[in-house]
C-alpha cells in the first residue's frame, strides 16, 4: 500500500481500453459528445473506424450499443454517470440488461466528485444499476485497479456498469495489486477487531486514512475493498463482520441502494447481528462545489468515518481528528 498524498496518473482507462481494443477487434467504442472527458480521445485518434460519437443522444446510444452487441461486438459506452444511468434507464433495461448482451456502460464523475451540481452528480447510479437483472456493477478505487478492470469487464460475459473518477487518478495500491471480479479484498488490518470498514471507489482512500487513525488511537480496524458492488462478495464481508464489533460502509453515493445496502443485506441474510453504520449521502441532492467542500458538507470525509466509529463503539473519549494532507498539484489525498 502506498501512502497519501498519492501520486496520480492521467487516463488509465483510456490507455487500457486502447491497448485491449488493439488486441480485440470486436471492441467498439461509443461516446456522447464527451470524448476527451471520458478519456476516449485516445481511442478515437488511434482506432477511429471503431469509434463513434453518437452526439448528445444517450437513449439512442444505448439502443445502438445493444444492436452492435447482438451482432457480436463488445461495446464500451462512455459518458458521465448521470447521463448513462438515470437518463436512459428503460433503454438500458430493455436493450442491454434484459437481453444480457456485452455492453459495458462506463459512467464518469461518480457521486460528489463533480463540481457541477445535481445535474452532473451521479449519486444513485449504483442503486439504479444494481436493481437491473444481469447487470454487474464495478466501482474501482485507483489507477492500478482501473487498468485491470477494463480487461476484466470485457472478459465478463454480459452487461457491466463501470463507475470511474474523471481526471487525475490516484495510485493507492502497489503495482502487484490484483483486481478481481469475484473477490473483495482485505487491504488493511487482519479482518478481526473493533471496526471493519467496507468501502469502494473514491472512499477507499478515506477508509484507509480512517483505519490508520483508529489504530493510532488504540482501536483495531480493517478495510475491505469491494470494487464489485454487484454481485457483492458476501463471503469475505460476512467473514470479517463476524469477527468485528462494528461494520462501517463508506460510499461516494446515496446510502439507499448502493454498497451500504448491499452489505446490510448480506449481513442480515447471514444472520450476523453486528452493528452497522453507513457513511454516504443521506437522501439529499447536493450542490455545486469542490470535492473537498462537498465531501465534508455531505458526510463523505475521513472524519465522518471516525465519528461513526466512535458513535458505533460508544467510546466516551473525544473523536480523533483526521489527518490533513498537504497536496501538491497533481497529488491526491482523501478529504
Amino acid at each position: 500500500m502506498r501512502e497519501p498524498p498519492y501520486a496520480t496518473v492521467l487516463k488509465p482507462y483510456g490507455e487500457a481500453l486502447l491497448k485491449l481494443a488493439r488486441e480485440r477487434k470486436e471492441i467498439i467504442c461509443l461516446g456522447a459528445d464527451l470524448t476527451r472527458q471520458t478519456e476516449t480521445d485516445i481511442f478515437r485518434d488511434n482506432i477511429g473506424d471503431r469509434f463513434i460519437n453518437v452526439g448528445m443522444a444517450e437513449a439512442n446510444m444505448i439502443g445502438i450499443a445493444g444492436g452492435l452487441a447482438r451482432a457480436g461486438h463488445t461495446v464500451f459506452v462512455n459518458t458521465f454517470g448521470v447521463f448513462c444511468t438515470r437518463r436512459c434507464y428503460d433503454q438500458i433495461a430493455m436493450a442491454v440488461a434484459y437481453p444480457n448482451v456485452n455492453v459495458k456502460i462506463v459512467g464518469f464523475m461518480p457521486g460528489l466528485s463533480s463540481p457541477g451540481g445535481p445535474s452532473h452528480q451521479a449519486i444513485e447510479d449504483v442503486s439504479l444499476m444494481r436493481a437491473l437483472p444481469n447487470m454487474t456493477v464495478v466501482d474501482p478505487a485507483d489507477a492500478i485497479e482501473i487498468s485491470q478492470a477494463v480487461t476484466a469487464v470485457a472478459d465478463h460475459p454480459g452487461p457491466v456498469y463501470l463507475r470511474l473518477k474523471r481526471g487525475e487518478i490516484p495510485q493507492i495500491f502497489e503495482d502487484d495489486h490484483r483486481f478481481e471480479m469475484k473477490k473483495a479484498q482485505l487491504v488493511a488490518g487482519n479482518g478481526r477487531g473493533e471496526v471493519c470498514i467496507v468501502a469502494a471507489g473514491m472512499m477507499i482512500a478515506a477508509a484507509l486514512a480512517a483505519a490508520r487513525t483508529l489504530e493510532d488511537n488504540g482501536v483495531s480496524a480493517s478495510v475491505i475493498n469491494a470494487p464489485v458492488i454487484k454481485p457483492l462478495d458476501a463471503e469475505t464481508v460476512v467473514s470479517a463482520a463476524k469477527q468485528s464489533r462494528l461494520v462501517i460502509t463508506a460510499e461516494n453515493h446515496t446510502v439507499f441502494g448502493g454498497l451500504g445496502s448491499a452489505v446490510a443485506e448480506a449481513l442480515a441474510e447471514a444472520g450476523v447481528g453486528v452493528a452497522l453504520r453507513r457513511v454516504g449521502i443521506d437522501d439529499v441532492f447536493a450542490e455545486s462545489g469542490s470535492r473537498e467542500y462537498l465531501f465534508s458538507r455531505y458526510g463523505l470525509s475521513t472524519q465522518n468515518i471516525l465519528e461513526q466509529a466512535w458513535r458505533g463503539l460508544a467510546i466516551n473519549r473525544p473523536v480523533p481528528v483526521a489527518p490533513v494532507h498537504e497536496t501538491a498539484p497533481g497529488a491526491y489525498a482523501p478529504v
Binding site: I52, A57, I62, G63, I64, G67, A71, M94, P99
Partner: protein
C-alpha cells in the same frame, strides 16, 4: 389501367389477416387491427423476396405487432403452423407482445421508440464486417411521438457511410391506445420530417402491394437510408368490421370472427 399486384402476394396478405384473426380469437381480444393494417407490408417484405432469411436483419420495433410476424412466418415455412394455436396462452412460444424468447426476429422491442436505434447497431455491424446484409426496421406511426426515434433518424443519415443499407417501414395506421394519432398529437407532416432528417422518403398507400414492392426495390448510390411511410387503415378496409370498433385492441366475439373469416376466405377463393 393500374398495375395489378402479384396474385401470390395478394393472397399472402389475406392469409396473414386470416391467421391473425384465428390467433386473436383464442382470447377473444387482441392486436388484430395491427395485422389488418400491416398485412400487405409483411406480405411484401417476407413474400416479395426482400427480407432474405438468415442474411438480412429484421427489427420489429412495436412488439405488439409480433402477431403479424407469426402469421406470415407460418405461411413462408419458417414457423410450424401448429404453434399459432397457442398464441398468447400461458407458457406458449408465441407471446402476444414480443420478448427475448420471440423466434424469427433479430430484435423485437415492447417499449416503444427503441427499434430504430437497435437497427442502426446492426447496420453498423454489417458495415464493420463488410457483410452484404440489409437491415429492415418496422416501426409504427404512434411511436414517432418518442424522441428517441428522431435521435436515431438524425444519426442514421449523418453516419450513412458507416452503416450497411437501412430500410424503415412505418405502418401509418393513425391508431394508438387513446384513439387516433391525430387526436392525441400532431406528428405530421411525417414525410417532410423524415426528408428534412436526411432520409429518402416513399409516402404511399400501405395496402397497395405494387407501390410497396416498387419502393422497397429502390436503392441509393449514396447509401441514404430509406423510409417508407405506408398509409394504412387500422381495420384494413375490411367490410365485415363495423367502423366503430376500436382497432388498436379489437374485441373479437364469435359472430365478428365468423364474419371476418368469411370475408377473408372469400378473398382467397
Amino acid at each position: 389501367m393500374a398495375e395489378r399486384p402479384n396474385e401470390d402476394l395478394r393472397k399472402l396478405a389475406a392469409r396473414i389477416r386470416l391467421n391473425a384473426t384465428r390467433m386473436v380469437a383464442i382470447q377473444g381480444f387482441g392486436y388484430l387491427g395491427q395485422a389488418l393494417s400491416s398485412a400487405e407490408i409483411f406480405a411484401a417484405l417476407f413474400g416479395g423476396g426482400f427480407v432474405r432469411p438468415d442474411r438480412d436483419r429484421f427489427i420489429l420495433s412495436p412488439g405488439h405487432y409480433v402477431v403479424c410476424l407469426y402469421a406470415v412466418a407460418a405461411e413462408t415455412g419458417r414457423l410450424d403452423r401448429a404453434e399459432l394455436t397457442s398464441y398468447g396462452m400461458d407458457g406458449a412460444l408465441l407471446e402476444a407482445i414480443g420478448t427475448e424468447r420471440t423466434p424469427l426476429v433479430d430484435l423485437v422491442c415492447g417499449s416503444l421508440g427503441q427499434g430504430l436505434s437497435g437497427a442502426i447497431g446492426f447496420a453498423i455491424a454489417a458495415h464493420q464486417a463488410q457483410e452484404d446484409r440489409v437491415t429492415y426496421a418496422f416501426l409504427s406511426d404512434g411511436e414517432m411521438e418518442e424522441g428517441q426515434v428522431w435521435e436515431a433518424a438524425m444519426f442514421a443519415s449523418h453516419h450513412r457511410h458507416r452503416m450497411g443499407r437501412l430500410v424503415v417501414v412505418i405502418d401509418a395506421n393513425n391508431s394508438q391506445v387513446d384513439g387516433s394519432v391525430t387526436s392525441v398529437t400532431t406528428i405530421e407532416p411525417l414525410a417532410e420530417k423524415w426528408k428534412s432528417f436526411g432520409w429518402r422518403v416513399a409516402d404511399l398507400d400501405g395496402h397497395d402491394l405494387v407501390a410497396l414492392t416498387k419502393a422497397l426495390a429502390t436503392t441509393s448510390a449514396d447509401n441514404q437510408p430509406l423510409v417508407i411511410i405506408a398509409r394504412t387503415e387500422i381495420l384494413g378496409r375490411m367490410k365485415s368490421i363495423p367502423a366503430t370498433v376500436d382497432g388498436h385492441f379489437i374485441k373479437l366475439d364469435p359472430a365478428l370472427e365468423r364474419a371476418v373469416t368469411a370475408e377473408l376466405e372469400a378473398a382467397l377463393a
